[in-house]
């Protein structure tokens, strides 16, 4: 049985307790604070790091968000994975309420924070962590509220994620298909790992209780329908849906049907582990003249069709930590030395498909070095980019049907985007 949580703490960056809710009264905030400051003192010691720690009969689990830590304490054998997720959910809820979760927003909103903590967990058992539902009965601007606050409608509702009586004058749906590409290339230039994490994000502004049906070019579905595949069909490895999707329906005939929550949410996420070609390939040559300078030649090539182009490309090139006085030339974009990262940041605003750009840099190395200082911190080259109107997997939204009993017309908007996720090339 997943044990119950004893208390929840929000701590500042130095480990002082900003606010806490003691659900079961068997872990004091003094105890927690003492543990946490002890932990922070050992910061340099990587071995003692980890999000789940045990101290004096109490298990602490914590996550960091901006300049605050959220931490649970428990004396029971609780469910680690679920509590960590719960903490992330708490962060999401706070962000919905205060725009951003940080020390200041907590300090300015003690009362609301207390209210939220009380509703999200009762006596150590998670209750409601859906900001949509919570916002129905905990209002930040309660001062001006003349309407009486009702208990959550959703509780008595068959569809817990959507309340009744929502109305918009124009009914719109925005669908974002976002794929993030993870690539790992080893020092021989081989791709040792690549996968795609995709998400279909929705923003709905729909009245009433709309019934939605989404069609994708999912291979399994298309083949089941008798192979009427015109374009490309894709295989998705592992699909996860928002709780609103009728999973039984999906399992029987791969139809994605649902009543969406109001506002924005992730309808589904999926993973594709087929090998993908690196969309932006980077080759680097480093010549190191000991004690004088280091020369770096970099070639970046876009390996997608001309009609697409990558935006906000940022290539992070690691340089020795004792390098200085950079002298950089680029055939496109602008490169900046970022000593705090020990890297050159090469930024290219638009990078059209099938193009190749160069960068040449020279940095000075100190003529005197102490032996130990020469570290072999071989960081990888990291690349960030966004390619709009393009998905690396080729996933396509074939249709989005919305039916509501009042029969209104809706405007669905679909957008595709590919971004770089963990995109690492260990080439230098």
């Amino acid at each position: 049985m997943a044990g119950a949580t004893s208390a929840l703490f929000i701590l500042d960056i130095k480990g002082r307790c900003l606010i806490s809710r003691n659900y079961r009264g068997d872990v004091t905030s003094v105890q927690a604070e003492r543990f946490f400051t002890k932990l922070l003192e050992k910061e340099g010691d990587v071995e003692s790091q980890g999000p789940v720690r045990y101290d004096d009969g109490v298990t602490y689990m914590f996550i960091q968000h901006n300049n605050v830590y959220l931490m649970t304490a428990s004396r029971q054998n609780c469910n680690a994975a679920s509590l960590i997720l719960f903490l992330y959910n708490v962060v999401d809820v706070f962000r919905c309420y205060f725009e951003e979760l940080e020390e200041e927003s907590i300090r300015d909103n003690f009362v609301v924070v207390y209210e939220l903590l009380d509703e999200m967990m009762d006596f150590g058992y998670p209750q409601y962590t859906d900001a949509n539902i919570l916002s129905e009965f905990i209002k930040t601007d309660a001062y001006r509220m003349e309407v009486t606050q009702r208990p959550p409608m959703a509780l008595t509702n068959a569809v817990s994620w959507r309340s009744e009586g929502i109305y918009y004058s124009s009914n719109e749906v925005f669908l974002d298909v976002v794929e993030s590409v993870n690539i790992l290339v080893n020092s021989n230039g081989q791709i040792i790992r690549s996968d795609v994490m995709g998400a279909i994000k929705m923003r709905t502004y729909l009245s009433g209780m709309p019934e939605c049906k989404l069609g994708l070019n999912d291979r399994v579905l298309l083949e089941a329908q008798g192979g009427t595949t015109k374009g490309k069909a894709i295989d998705m490895d592992d699909i996860k849906f928002h709780q609103c999707v009728r999973l039984a329906r999906f399992d029987s005939d791969r139809t994605i049907s649902f009543i969406p929550p109001d506002g924005s949410f992730d309808l589904m996420t999926y993973r594709i582990s087929t090998q993908v070609k690196p969309l932006i390939w980077v080759e680097a040559q480093v010549v190191r003249h000991a004690r004088s300078r280091v020369e770096i030649m970099v070639k970046a090539r876009s390996q997608f069709k001309e009609r697409s182009s990558a935006n906000h490309v940022e290539i992070e090139l690691p340089v020795p930590c004792d390098a200085s006085n950079p002298n950089v030339r680029t055939s496109m974009g602008r490169a900046k030395y970022a000593p705090e990262k020990d890297a050159l940041l090469w930024k290219i605003r638009t990078f059209p498909g099938n193009k190749e750009y160069m960068l040449a840099a020279e940095l000075r190395l100190p003529s005197v070095t102490s032996e130990e200082a020469v570290s072999d911190r071989k960081a990888p080259i990291r690349v960030k980019f966004e390619i709009p109107y393009f998905t690396v997997s080729g996933i396509q939204v074939r249709f989005l049907k919305i039916i509501e009993k009042s029969g209104y017309q809706t405007l669905p908007w679909v957008r595709y985007l590919t971004v770089a996720g963990e995109y690492e090339l260990r080439l230098i």
């Binding site: 009264g25 789940v52 996550i63 469910n79 006596f123 058992y125 996968d195 709780q243 999973l247 071989k378």
Partner: protein, 839 residues
């Protein structure tokens, strides 16, 4: 009428203020208490907010208690909430004052607004004041019957709170019965979930004293309740689903149809966006199919993809939690994830705790087909990234080598590490090379050549130094300057701060001395002299022991420090399979993250429901006593055999568990595990190596009368201790030769018990110079193939031994090159078996 406190400079909550401001607040609150003027509520809110802020930043505002209570007569819900908050915080320390609040809280429990009813009830229950419980019963009772689900939801948890304040009051009011009714009938899923939580806790805490309670606890696991909850699973919130699924995983279905029904129903939960739900579902699947071997394997296949996604998609903290679970699964079914090893490659930016787990995963999934890629990747980490990571990577490489896949390439890699000339790399590698040599002495030539070039001055870490010294002693003949290196170390005795290193030094010097006396004499003298005056008790004792041994007879000393050694085939696992199973039962809890069963890190009163306390008590006692035995053995081991004393602690821990690492848990007869088991056996045993029978048997803690079975007249047949036979020849011979003797025997219960780790038998037989060439099977049927060779000639005996542990029968078939001696061999074989508990 005082104006609202506009003029008052509002102190920022971040600036703690003194007593003056608190009394100021008190004044203003008092003025507002009786006011009915419009706008009062607004100024009250301002003041309340200030009070709450003070309270939060730790300023004691308990002195305004009565004023707060006076002001609480309002219909404004925000004010009420703040007031409840204040009261909840201070009531426990002011039980007398809190009596004041009961009145207005009770009144609010009857408010027409369900929100206020719920909040008031929650605050009432969180006062945690024992002498006020009588006031709780009424509001709770009506709360449970409230028309609004919010109030019922709060009331259900309220009952649990009441139980923790005063269990008798809770039981007397018959609340559990009401909760049960509510759980089975309430239309609102969250009410149901909260009732379930409360009932689980109450019944399992009560179960220790009341039979009825433990019956009720069983009812929660009964078919109707489980089916009822399963049928409503989709209505529950994600967290409530986790709780229900956890309950379902404890349910014991009556037949396999039921199992499949439940799995079909829950299949779609594996696609839930919330990772906690996915993990909870995984647990249900795994637990349900424990009895169905094939399905259990299919379940592993099914859950693989969702789990791998969890690893790479979530936050690092989440990956950490999920990876811990994956690690547990991988240890149970390594073969399953062996093609997905790339998912466990480390990213540069990942925190160390994630990387470390990933390395453990890579080590666990390594097999013949992927070792090369994995080790290549690990070598990149060793050369590239930060120091702790490099160390872990090298250790991982070593562990893979000890799993005996593609040792050849790995040894080369390890030796390359030594050439990198980084102190920490060298240190880690030395420790590994030492372990490797203990397992594969045949590599000594290559390794020693490289190790010999390392200057002992560059090695500072105790473990590494100890390893280097061990190698100097062990391979004294092959290392030209071993005596001189040891001599200089012995001369600088006082600079050596680690007792472990000094102990090793003593032994190494003596080992070296028995091989190369003239050269080592000086070093030995220096070491013994220094050791005798050492302040560390163990070092002193060992020096004295060696000194007296040498005084007595050098050849005896040689026998002690340098006996013929048998290569270590499997390093002992640190955890018994019993503990591992226990952790598996606690899947999806902290037990998996800590890799310890929950009784090791929770207090008794905080153990979860369904952890049967009686059973736990026994088990923890059992575990303790086992630990005692183990530590006793460790002492023995240290004293008896230097081979083991040179090893790290964790390796020598629990020799009695030896081999259990690779044996499948009794109920999990998963095919891949057994297969790999048999394979490793084959590999390890066809490299026949020098034997050290007595030492090994004693270490095993198997207290059979190993002393060469004197009762039976000493067999005239002598066997070759270093017999060699490759599997192909064995097969050929087995096919060609006729069965010369076939016998049946029985096995004693002790023998059966010992057979839970077939390795024990193999080692035992090896002690009698009868070697195993292949073994396999799963409980209750085990099959072993043994062979032996005569000492003088190359005539071999082949044995097939089938043991059924449930019927306690053993069947032996013997084939021999020389039919004449086969009877003598049978006698020998049986005497060996009988000392194991078979006849």
């Amino acid at each position: 009428m005082a104006p609202p406190a506009q003029s008052h400079r509002s102190p920022s909550p971040s600036q703690p203020s003194g007593k003056g401001e608190v009394s100021d607040l008190k004044m203003q609150l008092r003025q507002l208490a009786g006011s009915r003027a419009p706008g009062t509520d607004d100024s009250k809110r301002e003041l309340f907010k200030k009070v709450i802020s003070y309270m939060t930043i730790g300023i004691d505002v308990s002195s305004v208690f009565s004023e707060m209570v006076m002001c609480s007569a309002t219909s404004d819900i925000v004010l009420k909430k703040m007031c409840y908050l204040y009261v909840g915080n201070y009531a426990r320390y002011n039980p007398d004052l809190s009596l004041l609040t009961i009145n207005f809280l009770q009144r609010d429990c009857k408010d027409e607004d369900p929100m206020i009813r719920g909040l008031a009830l929650r605050s009432l229950c969180t006062l945690r004041v024992a002498n006020l419980v009588e006031y709780l019963v009424g509001p709770l009772g009506s709360g449970l019957k409230d028309g609004n689900s919010y109030v019922r939801m709060v009331a259900a948890v309220g009952v649990l709170k009441l139980y923790h304040i005063s269990s008798s009051t809770c039981m007397d009011a018959d609340f559990p019965v009401t909760l049960k009714h509510l759980m089975l009938n309430d239309p609102d899923a969250q009410v149901v979930a909260n009732c379930l939580c409360a009932l689980q806790e109450i019944w399992s805490l009560e179960a220790t004293t009341s039979e009825e309670a433990s019956r009720e606890r069983e009812v929660l696991l009964s078919k109707p309740v489980i089916y009822y909850l399963l049928n409503r699973i989709k209505e529950f919130s994600e967290w409530a689903q986790c709780i229900v699924l956890e309950l379902v995983s404890k349910y014991v279905p009556t037949d396999s149809n039921e199992i499949f029904d439940i799995m079909n129903l829950l299949e779609d939960r594996l696609q839930h966006a919330n990772g906690a739900v996915v993990l909870a579902t995984v647990k249900v699947f795994l637990q349900l199919t424990l009895s169905l071997t094939d399905t259990h394997q299919q379940v592993y296949e099914r859950i693989k993809a969702p789990l791998l996604t969890q690893v790479s998609s979530g936050s690092p903290e989440q990956s950490y939690a999920v990876l811990s679970h994956l690690h547990l699964l991988v240890m149970r079914a390594p073969i399953l994830f062996s093609t997905d090893y790339k998912h466990f490659y480390c990213q540069y930016n990942e925190p160390f705790y994630v990387k470390k787990l990933k390395l453990e995963m890579l080590t666990a999934v390594a097999n013949e087909s992927n070792t090369y890629e994995i080790v290549t990747e690990l070598c990149e980490y060793a050369a590239n990234v930060d120091i702790p990571m490099a160390r872990e990577s090298i250790r991982a490489v070593g562990k893979i080598a000890l799993q005996q896949y593609d040792v050849n390439a790995i040894v080369d890699r390890l030796l390359q590490f030594l050439e990198m000339e980084k102190d920490y790399v060298t240190a880690e590698t030395l420790v590994l090379v030492k372990d490797l040599l203990r397992k594969y002495p045949q590599w000594s030539h290559d390794c020693i050549a490289v190790v010999g070039n390392i200057s002992s001055k560059n090695v500072q870490e105790p473990k590494a130094k100890a390893a280097l010294i061990w190698m100097l002693g062990e391979y004294a003949q092959d290392m030209q300057d071993a005596p001189y290196v040891l001599e200089s170390l012995a001369e600088n005795w006082d600079d050596e701060h680690s007792a472990e290193v000094r102990l090793h030094l003593l032994t190494a010097v003596l080992k070296c001395f028995v091989r190369r006396p003239p050269e080592t004499q000086k070093a030995l003298g220096a070491a013994l002299a220094a050791g005798l005056s050492d302040f560390h008790q163990d070092v002193h004792d060992r020096a004295l022991f060696y000194y007296r041994l040498l005084q007595y007879k050098v050849s005896v000393a040689e026998g002690v420090v340098n006996p013929p050694k048998q290569a270590v085939s499997v390093f002992a696992d640190t955890q018994s399979s019993e503990i591992k199973d226990r952790i598996f039962d606690e899947f999806n809890s902290l037990a998996v993250v800590y890799q310890k069963p929950s009784y090791m890190f929770t207090d008794k009163e905080h153990r979860g429901p369904f952890a049967f306390s009686e059973e736990l008590g026994n088990l923890s006692i059992g575990a303790e006593s086992a630990e005692n035995i183990v530590s006793a053995q460790r002492v023995d081991a240290n004293d008896q055999d230097l081979l083991l004393s040179t090893s790290e602690k964790e390796e020598s821990r629990g020799p009695s568990n030896n081999g259990s690492a690779y044996s499948a848990p009794s109920y999990d007869s998963s095919a891949p595990l057994v297969a790999s088991h048999a394979q490793s056996e084959l590999v390890s045993l066809d490299q026949t190596l020098p034997q050290a029978p007595q030492a090994i048997d004693d270490l095993l803690g198997l207290s059979f009368a190993v002393t060469p079975t004197p009762a039976a007249s000493p067999p005239p047949l002598r066997l070759n201790a270093k017999a060699v036979l490759d599997p192909n020849t064995f097969q050929q011979k087995w096919r060609q030769l006729p069965v010369s003797i076939s016998q049946e025997g029985s096995v004693t219960p002790q023998g059966v018990a010992a057979l839970t780790t077939p390795q024990a038998l193999l080692r035992h037989m090896q002690g009698h110079f009868i070697h195993c060439i292949a073994s396999g099977g799963q409980a209750p049927n085990f099959k072993f193939f043994f062979f032996a060779q005569k000492a003088e000639e190359s005539s071999t005996f082949l044995v097939e031994c089938i043991i059924n542990s449930s019927s306690c029968k053993a069947q032996i078939k013997i084939k021999a090159d020389d039919q004449g001696t086969s009877h003598a061999f049978v006698a020998l074989f049986q005497s060996a078996l009988s000392s194991f508990g078979m006849s």
